[in-house]
């Protein structure tokens, strides 16, 4: 049974244009759903509706069996929301800040402090636990915001561009934290423009454009649909001549070969997107085997852009069109 169910949800502020139009999706417990799309696509409006901050104009939103419009207060116990731009109480310390929100969420006093300490430890904020929030760096503030959304142990986590202010190290920590949450059956909906971060993280993706969810599903399925049959691979080898001969052996499966630099090829291959991208996986494996066997000294072989990047590029291109 899905943790989140959206059925035909529409949001219009003035009746002229739908900020979100006929949105239907379901998110399972323990899964990470990436919401991708250009600016103004309706991602933030969708997250605000799910966070009970904005009622939909029509449609149904159900979280853990609770209708968000009928019983928003119960639903909020199950939802954690981190907006794109958020403010903290600068005069407080991280511990005071988390304690305030823990109290508001009704976290029992027994074990409250232990939970706060664990969160601070997990998000690498222990050293700053008693420093005023105004002295925290941007990345620390972002992590504290995330800690706030986790303090009541929500079942559904809504993150709007959570990694935008984080340095690479902090992004890895965020990613690890989200993976840990997934293991605990927490469902996460994450909207982000930093696609490499989402690539190995999200189980499924939804592409939004002009308020509509134009495609959703497993990343490879959606990416396959978005990029079509032709995929560009980046191949780096020590012996370019041997590699050229290997590409020639693949016949129609290799559509074009461009040598961007000595030993560095952009190889366009033909891999039908069916079966969740298995054809591409098999082709890449075959190509790698052949290059190794023919002694081309293969050092790199992968699609030039990740599946999510392909999805995003396709959605952005159609938005411009």
């Amino acid at each position: 049974m899905p943790l989140l169910r959206c059925e035909h949800v529409c949001l219009s502020y003035d009746g002229l244009r739908d900020a979100v139009s006929d949105l239907t999706l379901a998110v399972e417990p323990g899964s990470i759903f990436a919401l991708v799309g250009p600016n103004g696509a309706g991602k933030t409006s969708t997250l605000r509706m799910l966070a009970t901050l904005q009622p939909p104009t029509s449609g149904t939103l159900v979280v853990d069996g609770i209708d968000l419009q009928r019983d928003p207060e119960s639903a909020r116990r199950r939802i954690g929301y981190l907006p794109d731009h958020f403010a903290l109480y600068d005069q407080q310390t991280p511990v005071e800040y988390l304690e305030f929100f823990a109290r508001l969420h009704g976290v029992p006093s027994k074990g409250r402090r232990a939970r706060i300490d664990a969160l601070l430890e997990e998000l690498d904020l222990s050293e700053k636990r008693t420093s005023p929030i105004r002295t925290l760096s941007r990345g620390m503030r972002q992590r504290l915001g995330l800690a706030k959304t986790l303090v009541h142990e929500p079942k559904l986590l809504l993150l709007d561009e959570p990694a935008s202010a984080l340095d690479p190290g902090a992004r890895i920590k965020l990613r690890d934290a989200l993976l840990r949450l997934r293991r605990r059956e927490v469902a996460v909906i994450i909207s982000s423009h930093i696609l490499p971060d989402l690539a190995g993280l999200a189980d499924s993706v939804g592409i939004m454009e002009g308020g509509r969810l134009i495609s959703s599903g497993a990343i490879e399925d959606v990416a396959g649909k978005a990029r079509g049959a032709e995929v560009v691979l980046l191949v780096e080898v020590g012996h370019p001549d041997r590699a050229r001969r290997v590409f020639g052996d693949f016949g129609a499966r290799v559509v074009a070969v461009e040598e961007a630099a000595p030993g560095r090829f952009h190889v366009t291959v033909n891999a039908p997107p069916a079966d969740g991208g298995r054809a591409l996986e098999e082709l890449v494996a075959d190509l790698a085997d052949a290059l190794v066997l023919r002694g081309a000294r293969l050092s790199h072989l992968a699609p030039r852009e990740s599946a999510l990047e392909a999805v995003y590029r396709a959605s952005a291109a159609s938005a411009v069109a």
Binding site: Y13, T57, Y89, F100, F101, H105, A118
Partner: protein, 511 residues
Amino acid sequence: MDNKSATKPPASTGDLRTALSAFAHRSVRPRHAAQLVLYSAGIALLLMLVAAWIVGEATSPANQVYHYPGYVPLPWDTIALADIFALILLALGLFVIAPATVAASLAGERRAGTLDQLRTTPAPPLGLLAGVVVGAPLRLYLLCVGPLALHVFATVTGRVPPSVLVGSLFVLGAGAVLSVLFGAVLALAPQRDSGGALLALGAAGLSGFAAIVTTGMSTSSSSARWAFLHPGGALSSLMLSFDGLWQRMMLSSWRLETLHGSGSWSTVLSLIPAASVALSLVVGALLAHAACRKLASPERPLFGKVSAVAIFTVLAAAIILPVSQESIYSSRAANSITLALGIVHLPILLMLTVFSTPTPEAFALAVRRGQARGPFSDVAGPQGAAWAMLTIFLALCAVSFGALGHLLHASGRDFVAVTWAFTVAGSLPLFVLFGALRFQTGGARAAFYAAIFAHLIFQMIGIGIAREWSRNQVELSVVEVAGVLGVVVPLVVGVMLARRIAAIRATARRG
């Protein structure tokens, strides 16, 4: 981060308590609370010292001046004077500074976006509201402990009758509730975020001004009946109701004679505290309802139409019903009072109308979707509620001093003036709705309202001159121009409003 120990869902009273505890804890830590109470004791001590110094100076033979025969010296007493200072300080803190603090705090939360974060917690809107109005001024409340203790000490030592202590505690409590809720409503009223400092200043200014006016009212037999309109006036009435230092300081000897000679003033003064507490609680409940509505759904107008009419009814009844029959010595006087009361009620009606008008987006959405819009629904224009308020105003005037009968028996000029005034007031919702739908920015809307304000002032001048028996040619021209504008301006705005609504409908058809 063990997900199994999910938070248990407490009952709604539990939610309220939880929110209160969270906000209180955020504002003041227990060890700081003790510190603040200690400071408040220092304030009480300071008041005693200042009072002792003043009393010493006032009673010193060196400072005695010539007094007229029969002069009764003030009964100077250190504790009594310190008690007066304490009450003034309490009134200042609870009725002026506390609402300003609440307004500034809530406006700050709105501007920073933290209010949205609070709205994503399970705390109900009433819990959040209670948390803000208790939490934001909590330090101030704690600083009030010392002066309050001084007031109790004055009662224990016989300077203040026990009934006055009880009454003042009720007035202070209910008045504080009303004042902080007023501050909260003021911060939530604008559709978009606005400056906290400005709102704080507005809350303090309005409440402080009302306190001074009603305190002044309490010291006159003819106006004391309105002193309950602000808790500051009610406190003053309480202190005037017994023969103490405040009574001697505030009333001249002939007013003292009037007070002691006529039972009616004393009776009014004795009724004012109860009336003030009742008014504070009723208006406070209506304001709390409005604030909770806005916290739950910021896209809705601050006041529902029914709430706006209810608030108007309570305030109008509080202002109109105490009008004395003695002041109605002729139909002309009655009509003058009706017009004067109309001027007093006009800003109240205007504010309630503005803050019960839907946002342009909500109105347009309802029009385009063909949503059913009863006259009292949130997405309806404000005309239904505004005209209901006008009818209630007339009804209250009729009940209080027979305004309708006097209007029918009035001269033609009086009849024209009063009906003209009501027509002008009746056109207000037209302007408010047009201003909301046509102008997107606050500045443009403010400029439009300023123009309408100028129109209203000119209409008042026209109405005032129209009532006069003798008019020269210039005055006659003013009346004629005002009369023409009184018809043309609403007509033009009405046509523009109709075109605007037609355009909104047209986009829906095209869409």
